[in-house]
């Protein structure tokens, strides 16, 4: 136990400041009211859905949970069920075998809800594109509020996408 505590003390706090929202990532106008956004900004529950990725984007979502980014310090929490979620983080081109599961997950998420598509595949189908087994981009299956490009996007870019989704749109403000 002594060694464990010593390691914690030696490491200190490595968390870095969070990025600012980026309006260029927004796909739809802000669908939520200022009041809801104020609420979300302090306690956002995210459900991740891998709809067919190569698992590269998952590596970066895991990395976003590392102490460098400290998501929970920003009030962002990954939850185990879509029924507990405010926001769906969706990766991959949507495989046809995952199409129904993704739609059901979206339907199970209570309103008001947001969707952030992660990665080049989530944005436009990526290298896999659309074919007999792939529906391509996430927006082909469910409405997408914010899309974050990258193969895979860095944890900072993912965080930026999430923060953009819960920030007031300048167009509306």
């Amino acid at each position: 136990m002594y060694q464990l505590l010593k390691q914690i003390a030696k490491t200190g706090i490595v968390t870095e400041p969070a990025p600012n929202p980026d309006e260029n990532l927004r796909q739809l106008g802000q669908r939520l009211s200022e009041q809801v956004l104020r609420h979300f900004g302090r306690a956002l529950a995210i459900r991740h859905v891998d709809a067919g990725s190569c698992n590269g984007c998952e590596l970066e979502i895991h990395a976003a949970n590392s102490p460098y980014y400290n998501l929970e310090g920003l009030g962002i929490k990954f939850v185990a069920s879509p029924r507990h979620a405010d926001l769906l983080l969706v990766t991959g081109p949507v495989s046809r075998n995952m199409e129904v599961a993704l739609r059901r997950t979206y339907d199970a998420t209570p309103e008001p809800k947001l969707v952030v598509a992660i990665g080049d595949c989530g944005c436009d189908g990526g290298i896999f594109g659309e074919n007999y087994a792939s529906c391509g981009r996430v927006a082909n299956v469910i409405p997408v509020d914010v899309a974050v490009p990258g193969c895979p996007p860095s944890p900072t870019a993912i965080l930026q996408g999430i923060l953009t989704a819960v920030s007031a749109s300048r167009l509306r403000a």
Partner: protein, 513 residues
């Protein structure tokens, strides 16, 4: 199996590999002899040869003492079928079913004829990897009933889990039959991520395919990209420069370290030791950031290309890499002693999710998980290619086959990879990092076979005219290890499933293709 029985022909390339053609009637006796000789089934897949004047073909890759043997079994254009081999090599079961779903070649006398990769995206009787199949085809959702094996008895009930899981995990379905908290049986259903990768390869040139190979399973991008490059180089008769091979090995060992760091962190997390998660993921993040600074990509994607590598280690990069590895090594040693002495963690790790050496041998468990269960095989040791030939890789080994053994193997491999990188970087050859790829005619074969962090990754390639791909099969070791996970959890309690699963950390994408 002896060469006097088979007409074998050597294949060009970095790995010792040969190929042979046999008649379907001889398939079982050849496989039985291979099994008796302790040879391993590496992969099984099908191909459509109707555009080249044939019918269909079944292909098998066997790991022999001398290297890889690629067996091809020509099948007729009408009712292509062959005698199933799942009773000889149990890992063939799912591969045979996938080969049917994709190519329509039928394994006879196989007790399990359920579909595998086909869910509802395309109907039965339609086969996407047949040449006449248009990749852009769309079908109305087909019936997706799948008969799981039912366990019956007093107090037995089922827990269906997935495809959408509770954490940041890839999609798959797990059907637990349990009594109380105890798992009586687990049945997996995979294929949710099938996105037509093999068909996509056939629309690409050999150069273009490298990017896709690096995205078969993102966590093994280096291993797949190297295996792909090796296959293309073998087929085209290209030799990558020495410096490129050395840097490829540096990248492969970085990938191994990064994945082991991440998984060791999650093993802590799954036994409520979140300290371990945060510490290991801090170290992993440090390494990923250095990769971005040195090579332009956190996971080293698109660096290995046929003919060499796309980007050299920058000036001063070697020193930075060595410094970072020294720091990681020292901190991991501290973390290892914390894990080892943590009674709560060890109580959850030891004797949990055990796979005995007998079972591992029977089912063909491979890679890192195999080495934790007494299956001491590692391509870097068994068939060392350049630059491993002069490295004398020390193979990690353990026998208990539980979560603790897999954690122990990961700790050992992490330290060994750091040693290898230090030795490689210290003795880097000078010179070019890439040579142009010669024009490759159709009908050439190449194999790439690389020991990735999870196990051996295979790429089997047959070229088409105009530098294109006739058929490419990328094979992830998860094919072998997924069925073993079903057995590893039997008798354990449901709450230990995430821990056992993470100790293997198998790929869904690499399996579903």
């Amino acid at each position: 199996m002896t060469d006097s029985v088979l007409q074998v022909r050597p294949l060009d390339g970095a790995m010792p590999a040969r190929c042979a053609v046999i008649e379907p009637a001889r398939l079982r006796s050849v496989c039985e002899a291979a099994r008796a000789n302790h040879e391993r089934l590496v992969a099984l897949w099908g191909s459509d040869e109707t555009t080249r004047g044939g019918g269909y073909a079944l292909h098998l890759a066997l790991a022999q003492r001398a290297g890889l043997l690629w067996l091809s079994v020509p099948l007729p254009p009408e009712h292509p079928r062959y005698p199933g081999i799942a009773d000889i090599f149990p890992s063939a079961n799912r591969m045979q079913r996938a080969a049917y779903d994709l190519c329509g070649i039928h394994a006879q006398d196989n007790p399990d004829h359920r579909k595998w990769l086909r869910h509802r995206a395309w109907p039965g009787g339609v086969f996407p990897l047949r040449k006449g199949f248009d990749s852009a085809s769309r079908f109305p959702p087909s019936d997706d009933r799948y008969p799981f094996v039912k366990v019956e008895g007093e107090g037995v009930h089922e827990i269906p889990v997935g495809p959408v899981h509770a954490g940041t995990i890839e999609p798959g379905h797990f059907r637990f039959s349990i009594v109380g908290e105890k798992i009586l049986r687990l049945e997996e259903r995979l294929g949710y991520k099938h996105k037509g990768i093999e068909k996509r390869f056939e629309s690409m040139t050999l150069e273009e395919g490298a990017r896709l190979a690096g995205r078969v399973s993102g966590d093994s991008t280096v291993a797949f990209a190297w295996a792909y490059a090796m296959a293309v180089e073998g087929a085209s008769g290209t030799e990558a420069p020495r410096r490129a091979l050395e840097l490829r090995a540096v990248l492969l060992e970085i990938e191994r370290i990064a994945n082991h760091l991440g998984d060791l962190g999650y093993l802590g997390n799954d036994v409520a030791l979140s300290f371990g998660f945060f510490q290991f993921w801090r170290l992993k993040e440090d390494l990923l950031r250095l990769c971005a600074a040195l090579f332009g990509h956190r996971y080293l994607m698109d660096l290995i290309v046929p003919g060499g590598i796309a980007r050299d280690l920058p000036r001063g990069g070697a020193e930075q890499l060595l410094e970072r590895l020294d720091a990681i090594r020292a901190e991991v040693a501290t973390l290892k002693s914390i894990y080892d002495e943590h009674a709560g963690a060890q109580d959850r790790f030891i004797m949990t999710g055990q796979v005995s050496a007998d079972l591992a041998e029977k089912l063909g468990l491979c890679g890192m998980a195999g080495r934790a269960s007494g299956i001491w095989r590692d391509l870097r040791v068994d068939y060392p290619i350049q630059p491993y030939q002069r490295m004398a890789v020390r193979m990690a080994n353990h026998t208990r086959g539980d979560v603790a053994a897999r954690a122990s193997v990961r700790f050992d491999e992490l330290a060994e990879s750091a040693r290898l990188i230090q030795a490689l970087v210290a003795g880097l050859s000078s010179g070019d990092i890439r040579v142009p790829l010669d024009a490759t005619p159709g009908g050439r074969r190449g194999v790439g076979w690389i020991e990735g962090w999870r196990g051996d990754v295979l790429v089997a390639l047959e070229t088409a005219e105009g530098n294109r791909i006739h058929r490419l099969h990328p094979h992830d070791p998860s094919w072998q290890n997924w069925p073993v996970l079903e057995r590893a959890v039997t008798g354990n309690i449901v709450p230990d499933f995430p821990l056992i699963n993470k100790s293997f950390n198998l790929s869904y994408s690499g399996h579903d293709l």
